[in-house]
Symmetry: C2
Subunit: 330 residues, 2 copies
Amino acid sequence: MLLTDLPTPALIVDGSTLDRNLAIMAAALPGSRCRPHVKAHKTTALARRQAAVGHLGFTAATPREILGLASAGLGHDLLLANETIDAHRLRAMAECDGRVTIAVDSVETIDAAAAHGIREVLIDVNVGLPRCGCAPADAGALADRARTTGLGVRGVMGYEGHVYLHDDRAARATATATAMEVLLGAHVTVGGDIVSAGATGTYDLNDAATEIQAGSYALMDTTFAPMIPAFTPALWIESTVISVSPGYAVADCGLKALGMDHGNPTIDDASTLFVSDEHVTFRPDHAVRVGDHIRVWPAHVDPTVAYHERMHVVDGENVLEIWDVDLRGW
Amino acid sequence: MLLTDLPTPALIVDGSTLDRNLAIMAAALPGSRCRPHVKAHKTTALARRQAAVGHLGFTAATPREILGLASAGLGHDLLLANETIDAHRLRAMAECDGRVTIAVDSVETIDAAAAHGIREVLIDVNVGLPRCGCAPADAGALADRARTTGLGVRGVMGYEGHVYLHDDRAARATATATAMEVLLGAHVTVGGDIVSAGATGTYDLNDAATEIQAGSYALMDTTFAPMIPAFTPALWIESTVISVSPGYAVADCGLKALGMDHGNPTIDDASTLFVSDEHVTFRPDHAVRVGDHIRVWPAHVDPTVAYHERMHVVDGENVLEIWDVDLRGW
């Protein structure tokens, strides 16, 4: 099948760019040093490629991602890097075909995990981003509580996402070091083997964590690419021009095909003007005609992928594989 | 089932608010005067309620919406208010169990429609929004071309979405009148019975169109509600607090549950701070605890609904019905 034969809008992955991104990460952080975050792609077929380069443990943001990975035979070592007290979902994760560790940051999340059969946890510590994570000073007591309820405590996690506020790499390095000082301090009081942190944006800045939860590096997007030039955007939306007017044109890639929290997408050889439910209006650099295809590069890969049922892996104009985006939902 | 028993994040519709919105529109624009746009809800069960108050014709933005409505027995009079040259989809729409009319704005879209079995079209005219739509002066010639290829030309359509740029209602009224003057001018050259235009935002301003393509009125959102106070937001995301820290808390409703092109959602009794992939961080007005439920009101309903597999219709704390969001995708 040819790329140009696909109905549009279609999520496209350049296979060789993806493989190069995966190889670069595997070389920089081999084996258990990287725990790929599947929230960025929600696709077990892509996770299989990450496992093939040596990354056998995975990070997830939702129970459904955990359960899907386990069902696909990728349950070697799964981390839900997020809090939940949902009894049914905790029980399902406890009973799935995999080793499941979940993040906890409160008495409530610890007690729910223990009550519903979860066996292992990480203590989630606030290292500067105002989101989940306990106060660092509370980490030891929460670990004690977890052990008292029968849970195994494998260590700590902390996400230094606030360092992205710094455009400058040196400033990000300093902020990462400060955050990891907090996390290592908490780790002393918690114990266990794991210090899990990070992100694609700090994969080569964070040498304190025993493992990096990197997600975006595989497919990348236009927001992260300038910040982390080691990795190359591999994902776009193939789109068809459906209307042409003097000075602008319209293609069939809209708000229901694109995560928009990081702003407008980028279009090859064109300026993006605005995005509607099922349209992008753009100013092409060269004349386009109805039926032409354009490539629309999302500003944020994660919420873009979550809109699509499948992604198409291509080599040039050839569609090599079609992958179900099978880890969507919760 | 109780609302509080649903796994979260969950898309919730207040049934009586929805019914009130539908009744207000049916009173203002009865029968064929309103052609509800299903892109806003993508749910045949909701379209059935719109049909029950007398709106038997529907507007769609994608072929899948058209095909889903037809399969559900709602094919009385379906308008694809969008351009496509996709041969397979045109053929599927031509062969579906319904009367299908599609928008065309170029020789290419006319010829594709005719070649693949479509029987009826509207000439889509640019009335001021730079998106699809031919130049008004070209409308007559395109109608002639369509008739020459054997297509029935039912009239014109034009979307005055640019009038939303005006905060002031009087200015919107003036801009709508100007846009409709253009559309009526084109209609003279095109012929046919239909002048299709508008939107929820101009439903009571546009008296030139024979039918209004209103979508948002059924469920509404925080962006449109202040502009069109006749209709009340009926849709929110039920979400669970998963982490509480001094000064803020976190709930499980993130970028993959919310269309973000109109900005952050609104939370009852709280200030929204920021949204991550699977989290919203917020400042509650009153203390909250892990396990509490919150209501997250999206800023844009259409791309929010498109993330969800189902919506839950409630009366107070009781879940009355669960509807599949069955018109997603393309």
